[in-house]
């Protein structure tokens, strides 16, 4: 096989991995803090994409600037969903939480379907036409920008959690809800903020890929499934695991698309998932047995 082709696939995999990481970090944060699996994660991503589309068409805002606004709006959506719905089932059985989030997912997906229709769309951005050549390999400027921004956002989130007071509160709540209550953390507010941040991450991820990845309302499900895969592979609740898992899955899919067929690339990440569940069910970075 042509080494250039493999090199190109590797490079594409790494570049797209930033987005996967950002999606998975958002999911993992929500799960880590309140042990709720956000089944509407992918649909929130799709809403990030459509918001980017609306901003581009109505306000002529390039998605590479508009993503900030999309993240902000998704933060609000996430916070509202948490406060109004998730908060009532935080202590319920997990199947109830899953069903509730599934309900939210159906509503989000089909509201998008009613408003925007079923046809695939893409947001126009001048960045998509520019390419840089690195020897025999080419780098799509849009994808490069997406990668840089996604990684920067992930690092910013990490610093926020590690260095700031609200971030420490979120971590405290994730470690031990009861302990956090005792030391005076406003747990309900922390939950709301954490869900908002998780949604903002995936919303930003959606806006950042909207210029080169065609999307439609039904895209949400496969984005959710990919996020679940990454988070299980990395280790439920581990942010580092989500970050590395995102890169790993993206590279694997990209190589898989070269060796197998592009339409079967999801099978690659899925095989990874099965292997992880067989041999390391806690995930690559999970410490405890789940």
């Amino acid at each position: 096989m042509d080494p250039t082709l493999i090199g190109q696939a590797l490079l594409n995999g790494i570049l797209f991995g930033g987005v996967y990481s950002l999606m998975a970090v958002g999911l993992s944060l929500i799960f880590g803090v309140m042990r709720v699996v956000n089944f509407a994660h992918g649909d929130m991503m799709v809403w990030g994409m459509y918001l980017a589309l609306v901003l581009a068409e109505r306000a002529r805002l390039d998605p590479y600037l508009g993503f900030v606004l999309c993240a902000g709006l998704l933060f609000l959506l996430g916070a509202v969903v948490q406060r109004v719905l998730v908060d009532r089932v935080v202590d319920s059985a997990h199947e109830m939480q899953i069903l509730l989030m599934l309900g939210v997912a159906l509503v989000l997906e089909n509201t998008a379907l009613v408003i925007f229709g079923p046809d695939p769309q893409r947001v126009a951005s001048p960045l998509t036409t520019a390419t840089i050549w690195l020897g025999p390999l080419f780098v799509d400027v849009a994808r490069l920008t997406t990668f840089v921004v996604a990684i920067a956002l992930t690092i910013a989130l990490y610093l926020f959690l590690a260095r700031t007071r609200p971030g420490q509160m979120i971590r405290a709540a994730a470690d031990n809800t009861y302990g956090a209550l005792v030391v005076g953390v406003n747990v309900p507010r922390v939950y709301m903020v954490a869900f908002g941040i998780g949604a903002a991450c995936v919303g930003a991820a959606g806006a950042l890929v909207s210029a080169f990845l065609p999307f439609q309302p039904a895209s949400g499900l496969s984005a959710s499934v990919t996020s679940f895969n990454i988070v299980i592979i990395g280790g439920m609740g581990s942010l580092l695991g989500a970050f590395c898992g995102g890169l790993a899955v993206s590279i694997a899919e990209s190589l898989g698309a070269v060796f197998l067929s592009p339409s079967l690339k999801e099978l690659v990440s899925f095989s990874l998932l099965v292997l992880i569940l067989l041999f390391r069910p806690a995930g690559l970075f999970g410490r405890r047995t789940p």
Binding site: M96, L106, L277, P281, P290
Partner: protein, 316 residues
């Protein structure tokens, strides 16, 4: 209780005599969804292992029977069981991965979704399955091909499927398996301490459930005569199956049937109404809202609620 059930069955047997042809088709779909909901109920309700991927079992069963009929001429009456076996094999794999190591419950839920998605992708990419365009079965009206010139036979077949699944669920409920599944659903560690091999019984539950659901695939294929990967493996279909049992009361014998009688007509009418108006997504928004409402206000489903109401009514 027993005679009430018998009267009801007799009523359903005699019902087609006074029903219009359109009403019969509605009842066929009601029975079929009650059957699928009941099959789901065995693992999702009694065992408490939430599956959001039961469409995968329907799909595997449907494609198996349809392809066998097309390529080898095997009658769907036998293909039905082959399809069930294939679905059971898939269930074994999902259960093995999801139930090992005492993984938390949501792993199973995530796996069921993931496997249904993968089944969809694979089916859409294989030539033998007709790819993304789907697989169409030509109508012959030949009973050996599970086809009939009137819809009356399908009415009775669907009714029989519903009764068989309910019989299976009832049998489980009365036996050791049922007591163990209820215990596992309540507290897995405590059941283990009482000698219950929870992995084993959860596996039995998913295999039975997947087998029955897979058998339903044959009905799906040869009643609707068209299989499309996006529909037959789709999450909305899985949700529809689970929703029947959950709304009616998951883990109860009558829940899925009640759920289907409540939801199916609603779904049929709203689908017909909104789809003709061009509002394709609206009935799914309604499903989503319904799920949210049920979780928040009626988490145990309608049947236990009704039973409590009746109980209180008798006491006062």
């Amino acid at each position: 209780m027993r005679w009430a059930g018998l009267v009801l069955v007799a009523l359903l047997l005699a019902l087609p005599a006074i029903l219009s042809s359109y009403a019969i088709t509605i009842f066929i779909v009601i029975f079929f969804y009650a059957f699928l909901g009941q099959a789901w109920n065995i693992v999702g309700g009694y065992a408490g292992q939430l599956s959001i991927g039961h469409a995968a079992f329907v799909g595997v069963g449907a494609y198996t029977a349809a392809i066998l009929a097309r390529d080898t001429g095997l009658t769907p009456w036998v293909g039905m069981f082959v399809g069930g076996a294939c679905a059971a094999a898939l269930g074994t794999v999902i259960g093995y991965l999801g139930f090992r190591f005492g993984l938390r419950g949501f792993y199973f839920a995530l796996l069921t979704v993931a496997f249904a998605e993968i089944a969809r992708i694979v089916t859409a990419n294989l030539e033998a399955t007709g790819g993304a365009l789907g697989l169409y079965i030509t109508f012959t009206g030949d009973p050996r091909q599970f086809q009939f010139s009137s819809n009356l036979p399908h009415y009775y077949i669907a009714l029989a499927l519903m009764l068989v699944a309910t019989g299976v669920a009832g049998g489980i409920e009365r036996r050791r398996l049922g007591a163990y599944l209820a215990a596992i659903r309540d507290d897995e560690a405590a059941s283990e301490a009482l000698g219950v091999n929870s992995f084993r019984y959860k596996m039995i539950a998913i295999v039975i459930s997947a087998f029955l659901t897979g058998m339903g695939g044959t009905f799906y294929a040869f009643y609707f005569l068209s299989l499309q990967p996006n529909t037959v493996f789709g999450v909305p279909f899985s949700v529809e199956i689970a929703l029947r049992a959950i709304v009616g009361g998951s883990g109860t014998l009558l829940g899925p049937i009640l759920g289907s009688f409540l939801l199916t007509p609603l779904a049929e009418f709203s689908r017909a109404y909104f789809a003709t108006g061009g509002w394709t997504g609206v009935h799914l928004i309604a499903y989503g809202l319904l799920l949210i409402v049920v979780v928040l206000f009626l988490p145990q489903g309608v049947y236990p609620y009704l039973r409590r109401l009746v109980g209180e009514g008798q006491r006062s």
